[in-house]
């Protein structure tokens, strides 16, 4: 609490004009600021040594049906205390311009372009105003998240051209890759500029898979939309469902039973396990080490079959619901899980020893795709990628959710920022997850596994929820509408934050190493494109 008072005092002293509100959730502060002072205040929060705010989320909201204004919200996480600071401002009447903070805070770049595409609000002073989500063939003036844009609108096509950044000079080539790739990968476009072997520039062109997820949320009720949250990014089914449910539970003032919280942690760790195992295998495969790939593929399959036996879904779909979980795991089954995981752990330790004894593999991984700590900070990089670059952040420890307040987590941290560090983080987290699941078995209390929602939230009430999924921090902002419906739901997968950073990590590397670097990040295209 003292942290909150300290930060609030600092801000109100430095900027007397800002208005303080009630906090939206625990460990947070909320201020309304005048639009023209936004860049100065956000710059202050970002750079002030005692605050060091990391831009965590930036979203807009169309409030016109009620208030004749658009709302803009900036969420910062303070580096030392992990306290949240929300700044909000309003664009009233016909005002469609807001000052861009990108010149000071690099991490805002994609958020502001996204707001421009989805709402038609223009960030003044933004260095790059090309379209992001709406590809060139979308007609002018289509801004899907405006309330007067109908969700089932049929879009026409227009002629248009996307302008890539070009590097010109003798011997400079451009290599376009995608949207359809050679392996079984999702769709995205990469444009490399190379002179000889080293990459001089990489430009991403994503959002091929934009499905209109945020607009679809607005058509659903608060309790039904879990199904959609599960399908934002298939490999993070539990992470997204959990983050969404936590937001809704906060809106409904719903207390989740302790047993349900433990089970939620169990499912989240199972999801982390199978993804990390798969990633380690895939990284080995990209260095042409097929043996390790086969072993990891086998281990991953064991966990997915375990998931299937436990819940009837290999991806743990349908286990998380608003208020708790849908399935109980008996203590007998818990013992079985731990036994199976102990086998997997010793099996994986042997595989790990084989992997790291292979000099040609470590040689390929070391110093490949280095993302240094400074660049990681500038892009507000989070999750496994951040932890491999010395960014010590893990929500399970910093802002405990589910049962993590009673299950302390040892955070894996490496500083080199290369592909090997990212492999190491995953390896350490596999052991840590199995340890956590053992703790779940020991500490899980008896009791009910779900509580029923009784009331409906007040229209216009909103809240934020965050979950450390296997990729990193997943954020949901849910604003309630009339009759238990959703007025606005902002989804932020960690991929959206980490994708731009990959453009810096590949510089100076050779194109044949790109698949390896990309795999070491392993970001979701679906979760990014929404």
């Amino acid at each position: 609490m003292s942290e909150a008072i300290f930060c609030d005092d600092l801000l109100t002293a430095a900027f007397p004009g800002i208005l303080k509100h009630d906090p939206i959730c625990a460990k947070s502060s909320h201020f309304t600021v005048p639009k023209d002072r936004l860049p100065a205040i956000s710059h202050y929060i970002h750079t002030q040594p005692s605050l060091r705010g990391r831009l965590t989320l930036l979203w807009a909201c169309d409030d016109r049906p009620v208030r004749d204004s658009y709302g803009l919200y900036y969420l910062f996480t303070l580096e030392a205390s992990h306290h949240w600071v929300v700044l909000s401002t309003e664009l009233a009447g016909h005002d469609r311009l807001f000052p861009s903070i990108t010149p000071h805070i690099h991490a805002a770049q994609w958020y502001e372009r996204e707001i421009r595409d989805m709402f038609g609000l223009i960030p003044q002073g933004h260095p790059d105003l090309r379209r992001l989500v709406r590809h060139e063939h979308w007609p002018k003036g289509t801004h899907p998240l405006q309330k007067d844009f109908s969700w089932n609108n049929v879009l026409e096509r227009q002629q248009g051209e996307y302008r890539f950044h070009h590097i010109e000079g003798e011997g400079v080539f451009e290599v376009p890759v995608g949207p359809i790739h050679a392996g079984i990968i999702e769709s995205g476009h990469f444009r490399f500029s190379v002179a000889g072997e080293p990459i001089m520039q990489l430009e991403l062109r994503h959002f091929w898979k934009h499905r209109g997820v945020e607009k679809l949320f607005e058509q659903l009720t608060l309790t039904d939309a879990v199904l959609l949250a599960e399908r934002v990014s298939g490999d993070t089914t539990v992470g997204h469902a959990l983050a969404y449910c936590q937001a809704v539970e906060a809106l409904l003032h719903l207390e989740v039973p302790r047993r349900a919280n433990y089970l939620r942690s169990l499912f989240l760790e199972l999801e982390r396990l199978y993804n990390h195992l798969g990633d380690i295998g895939a990284m080995c495969n990209d260095t042409a080490y097929a043996l390790a790939h086969a072993h990891c593929g086998r281990l991953k399959e064991r966990i997915m079959q375990l998931n299937d036996r436990l819940t009837g879904s290999r991806f743990l779909r349908g286990v998380i619901e608003v208020g708790g979980v849908t399935q109980d795991i008996e203590s007998r089954r818990l013992v079985e899980i731990v036994e199976e995981l102990s086998h997997i752990q010793s099996d994986f330790s042997e595989v790990g020893a084989i992997i790291f004894a292979n000099a040609s593999l470590t040689d390929r991984l070391e110093t490949t795709g280095v993302l240094n700590e400074r660049t990681a900070w500038d892009h507000a990089v989070i999750g496994i990628v951040g932890r491999a670059s010395g960014r010590d952040c893990d929500l399970r420890r910093d802002r405990p959710f589910a049962a993590y307040d009673e299950l302390p987590v040892n955070v894996a941290l490496y500083r080199y920022g290369d592909a090997r560090a990212r492999l190491r983080v995953r390896g350490d987290e596999i052991h840590e997850s199995i340890r956590l699941i053992r703790e779940v078995r020991d500490k899980i209390p008896n009791g009910p596994i779900a509580s029923q929602p009784r009331s409906l939230p007040k229209p216009g009430a909103w809240t934020l929820a965050a979950v450390e999924g296997w990729r990193g921090e997943i954020l949901y902002m849910v604003m309630a509408g009339e009759d238990g419906r959703i007025h606005r739901c902002k989804v932020r997968d960690p991929s959206f934050v980490n994708w731009p950073a990959i453009q810096w990590a590949v510089l100076g590397n050779i194109i044949p190493d790109f698949p390896l670097i990309n795999k070491s990040f392993n970001l979701s295209y679906a979760g990014n494109d929404l």
Binding site: I185, W208, K209, G212, K215, R298, I354, S524, A526
Partner: protein, 171 residues
């Protein structure tokens, strides 16, 4: 070296250690089987993602792991549509991917088979009607085989593919 050999000997063969799937929900049509007969005992697949949530991709990837090892049935993944006998399409077709899907279909040499994988590819699933989705795969290109599920299990995918190939792969 000895460590690797020892490990491999201890693990043994894991192929086939999965629960076999039942008969496919949607039977493969005789027309599709006729066309598949042209490829004899092998099938080169090109996977195209037109907007899935990536769960279907993960299950396609799982087909290639040592447990399912689809290669033993002559099923392999081609890196280019020009080398492919069959296109596996996942996800509802988004506005942004529509043209890429049509291009890929055009680039795949005839004769070819199109397989819609997962509920989204068959009927758009939860994304039906969205402004960013143009419709199921069959609205844009002719579909021969449908594999329902969200996502279908690898064993189910394998069962449909073997029915398509007209052989019993359950052994």
């Amino acid at each position: 070296m000895f460590r690797i050999i020892k490990k491999s000997l201890r693990i043994g063969v894991v192929t086939g250690r999965y629960q076999k799937a039942n008969k496919p929900e949607l039977p493969v049509t005789p027309e599709a089987q006729d066309r598949a007969r042209l490829f004899k005992r092998s099938l080169a697949i090109r996977e195209v993602d037109t907007g899935s949530c990536n769960a279907c991709e993960m299950e396609m990837n799982a087909l290639l792991n040592p447990v399912y090892d689809a290669d033993r049935f002559g099923i392999h993944i081609a890196a280019s549509p020009r080398h492919a006998d069959a296109l596996v399409v996942t996800g509802p077709v988004t506005v942004n991917m529509e043209r890429a899907l049509k291009d890929v279909h055009k680039q795949t040499s005839d004769p070819k088979i199109v397989i819609a994988l997962g509920d989204c590819a068959i009927n758009c699933g939860m994304f039906k009607g969205s402004y960013a989705v143009t419709g199921p795969v069959e609205r844009h290109i002719p579909v021969d085989v449908r594999i329902p599920g969200c996502p279908p299990r690898p064993a189910e995918i394998l069962a449909v593919l073997s029915e398509l190939q007209g052989k019993d792969n359950t052994a």
